[in-house]
Each structure stands twice: as structure tokens, then as C-alpha cells.
Subunit: 301 residues, 2 copies
């Protein structure tokens, strides 16, 4: 018979993994159990607090839907997602900085011609994005596939809207770089917006007194043969939340100046009657291979 003692409980739990065939998973479990047990001891966690934690985690899981990933959001607001990204990017070698995927990537987007308008009727200040993808030496990566997505003027992604299934995507597309590595599209100026605050992560943010805002940005996911997939944002310079992003995602190099333009023609030749903004950004990808993370997982599987 084993006499129970909380002193050797952690060791007993770790010993229970001893015969696991998967060495890496064994190591991860051992480190996770050690970390959580240490946390319980160090904080003298009360039973009521443990109950609150169980309820919080349960609510977080239950808030997830095929189009909403509250656990990714939790990871984001605690800086975990940026840290995971960082420990997986040890040597940048001049490549464009990376940042979080975020919870609003919904998988591959519909292919869209250069210069196309992604707004799908959504109103806002016109913005034209022109961009180029090269390798580290500046050689164009023709055929690179670029998924882009961003929030609207009110801070919502298409996938957050109740009529998403009917309306189809907006402010979301896939472009393919031309022979010179270039791609462009028309859209509207994104604004800074709060992360979803109507779930447990929102309750957590409220309890911390932190604001829930993210500075205005456009998401990019770039894939090119023989190169590491690049997951990043381009942020709009001047945004008041650049220094206090709710998910800690801002890096200086990813902040781009947006020029206000008043000429009545877009780079496509299209006539435009109102002032518009021009966002230019040059992406540099490094050699390698890597899997692209899936979209927000479907929970029905």
C-alpha cells in the first residue's frame, strides 16, 4: 500500500508517465505537471480558487465555436502566443518579423485578382495596399500565395458577424504574387478594435483593468515554395494602441506608414472621388519548410 503524502505526490504523478512510448510527450507532460503542481504549492491555491479556475477553463472551451477560438484568445492576451512564436523563430536573418495568427483566420481564402476590391460593400475610408514578396536577397518570389484578412471600420471580422454564412467573406482574400513578386488590393482602412469581450477572456480583461484594444492592422499569411511560411500583421502607424496591444503582438518593423492620397485615381487606374490611403509593405521570406497552422479548428469533428 502506498501511504499518501503531498510531498511525493508530484513524483508519483511523474512516475506514472514512466513507460510512455512518446519521449517528447512524456517530457512535456512531466514539465507541465511540475509547473502546475509548483504553482498550486507556491500560491497555496484554495479549493474555491481551483473551482473558479475549472469553471473559467470550462467556459472558455464552451465559448469556442467553429468560428470562434476563445482558448487562442486566452493564450494571446497572456502573451503566450507571442512567446511560442518567438521561441520558434530563433534566427531571423533579415526575414520579416512574425506575429500571432489570431483567432480570425478561417482557412484558405478565395483567390482574388490583383487590384480587386475586398470590401464586399462594407463602407469605410478607401485604402489601397501594394506589396512585394522577395527572398532575403531581394529576389522576387513569383507565385507566392498571400492570404490577407482584417477587421472593418467597426472592428469586426466578417466571421464574427451573424450573417457570415449567407454574406460570404469580406475583407479577406488570397492573392498570388506576380513575376516581380508584387500583389495589390483595394480595401478599407482598418481601425483599432477590442478583442471579443463577451466571453470569459473579456471577463478576465475586465478583472485586470486592462483595455481590450488592438491597434489597427492587416493580417498576412504568406507561403512560397522552398520558404518558411510567414504569419504576420502590418500595423498602421500612428495608432494610439501600438504600445499597449492587448495581445502583445506589435513589433516596430511591422508598423507601416499609411499615406493619405488625394489624386482621384487609384494605382489600378480606377477613378476614385474621395481621398484614399496607400499602404506599402515589402515582405522578406527565408528559406525553409514548415507547416501552416490550421484555421480555427472545427469543433464538430
Amino acid at each position: 500500500m502506498i501511504q499518501f503524502s503531498d510531498k511525493d505526490l508530484t513524483a508519483r504523478v511523474i512516475r506514472s508517465f514512466e513507460t510512455m512510448p512518446d519521449e517528447r510527450l512524456k517530457f512535456l507532460l512531466k514539465e507541465t505537471v511540475t509547473a502546475v503542481h509548483d504553482l498550486v504549492r507556491r500560491t497555496n491555491l484554495t479549493i474555491a480558487e481551483w473551482n473558479q479556475a475549472i469553471t473559467f477553463l470550462t467556459r472558455t472551451g464552451q465559448t469556442c465555436t467553429p468560428l470562434r477560438q476563445e482558448f487562442i484568445l486566452l493564450s494571446d492576451v497572456l502573451g503566450i502566443s507571442m512567446l511560442v512564436d518567438a521561441v520558434n523563430q530563433p534566427e531571423r536573418e533579415g526575414a520579416t518579423e512574425t506575429t500571432v495568427l489570431g483567432p480570425f483566420y478561417v482557412g484558405e481564402h478565395r483567390p482574388t485578382p490583383h487590384g480587386a476590391d475586398l470590401s464586399n460593400g462594407i463602407e469605410g475610408t478607401p485604402m489601397f495596399v501594394q506589396s512585394r514578396v522577395t527572398n532575403l536577397a531581394g529576389v522576387p518570389l513569383a507565385g507566392a500565395e498571400i492570404d490577407v484578412w482584417h477587421a472593418d471600420d467597426n472592428g469586426f471580422y466578417d466571421s464574427q458577424k451573424p450573417d457570415y454564412e449567407q454574406q460570404g467573406p469580406s475583407l479577406r482574400a488570397r492573392l498570388v504574387a506576380d513575376a516581380d513578386g508584387r500583389f495589390s488590393f483595394r480595401t478599407i482602412l482598418p481601425c483599432s478594435y477590442p478583442i471579443p469581450t463577451d466571453g470569459p477572456v473579456g471577463d478576465l480583461m475586465a478583472a485586470t483593468g486592462r483595455h481590450a484594444m488592438r491597434p489597427a492592422h492587416v493580417h498576412f499569411l504568406l507561403r512560397a515554395e522552398g520558404h518558411l511560411p510567414l504569419i504576420t500583421h502590418v500595423f498602421l502607424d500612428g495608432d494610439e494602441y501600438l504600445a499597449s496591444d492587448a495581445v502583445f503582438g506589435v513589433k516596430d518593423e511591422l508598423v507601416a506608414r499609411v499615406e493619405l492620397r488625394t489624386e482621384p485615381v487609384l494605382p489600378t487606374g480606377e477613378v476614385i472621388s474621395s481621398p484614399w490611403h496607400l499602404l506599402s509593405y515589402h515582405f522578406r521570406m527565408k528559406p525553409g519548410a514548415g507547416a501552416v497552422p490550421g484555421p480555427v479548428m472545427s469543433l464538430s469533428e
Copy 2:
């Protein structure tokens, strides 16, 4: 502008809690973020592994129902529940040992007279439980309320069965101690059983190669005025899983010998034609006050 660096990311996240009004929650968040960030760095967690963790936690939340609490089960199989119980029980002073509440407590039970049969028609080897509740000095705690619940002959709790709503409770009742602190009931012999293995926790157990068995036991939750609520099990001596309980819940003192009896009368005077088992246990409660944890939380709230 803040230049991002993974070196100071943890410090930045912790600084974001600086102005929180709730000092205890601030401390818990700070320690939790530190522990998780350390874990990510120490394990060099890959993006694919982070994704697996997100998926696992999401599935765990989605597996919870008003009658099933997969996060408690996860906490149980990693020894976290027993540790939380232990750090909250620093001085036992002769009181009965505690163990995990487990995920099958469904809230207050229907009051039941002494000697009643809890089996509600479920077949099994008859067992009679006679018990006594006293304070640390051996003085009977008349009027103490005792919730009991246990699994059937096949290892299932009533609340796990699809017809639970229609059939009503079985092997589950509330008793009230008499003037001498005594209570008794008739039931069937519980058997060792596997924790639910059809969810993510079952997948985890399979990956570890650990068995999912719990040794046979009866759950007790005792409340008496002026005394600390007592949450515990009584285990049946001789069970082959006493030394390897899937949730690490066994303590020597909670193991009771079960006597095989062949006389054709139960202690109630009831005639019985088959051999039966007698389980006797003496509970000692210590002075104090404490909240009883809620049942498996209703997730519809």
C-alpha cells in the same frame, strides 16, 4: 514605441496587471503567467504542440455537460485535485483523511431513512454500510448530514447513464446521523472501474499507457454544524488498484475491510437469502467552517 523582445515579454505581461484592484487575483495571474511562460521556454514548445494543446483544452471544455466535468477529471488524473486538497488541509489533528470530490457529485441528495436500500433495482452483491460520525473527542455529531454516492457493479454512476433523468438517482442518497452519530444504509458492493475514457482525458491516459482504473470506493460528503465539511471516500480493502488509483486518491486510513457475512438477516432485521458484505467506518470531523464545493457545475448558466 515598444520594441518587442521575447526576453522582456513575460515582464510586460505581468506589468499589464499592475493596476488590478484584486491583489490576490493579481498574484495568481502573475504566478500563472510566469509558470506558463517558463514552461514554453523550458520545453521550446513548437507551434504544432501549442496547437495540440489548444485543441486538447477546447475539446476538454466541449466534453463538459451539466452531468460531466472533464476539466475536473483532467485535474484529477494529473494529481492536481489531490494536491489542492492537500495544501488546504495542513493540520489534520486526528480528523478523517480527505480525498477528491470527483466529477460525479451532482448536488444535494434526497433524504433517505436509515437502513434504506439505495440500489433502486440495480443488481449486485448486497452490502450493508454502518457508520458513525463524531468530533475529534469521539462525541457523536447528531444531525450531521451525509451525502453518499458510488458506482454500480459495472463501474457506472447513475448520472452517467442515458436514462438518468427518467430513472432518478440510484446508489446515491442523503442520510442524517441519529443521536448517537450513527447512520446506515443498504446498497450493492461497488467495483473498481475506469474513469470515463471516451473523451480527451481518456485519450491522454491512452497516450501515457497508464490504466484508467479507480479502486472500488464509496464517496462521502459530511456536513455538521460547527465542523469543517469532510469530503472523502472509503475504499474497499483488497482491491487490486489501491496502489495505482488513476486519480491518486487513496490514503491508507481510508481503506476499510469489508466483512463477508452469511447470516440470513441484515442489521435492520431484514431477511436476506444470499451472503452479504458489511462495511463499517467511523468518521471524525474537526471544528471549523467551510463552504462545500458546488456540484458539477451547470454549464447552461
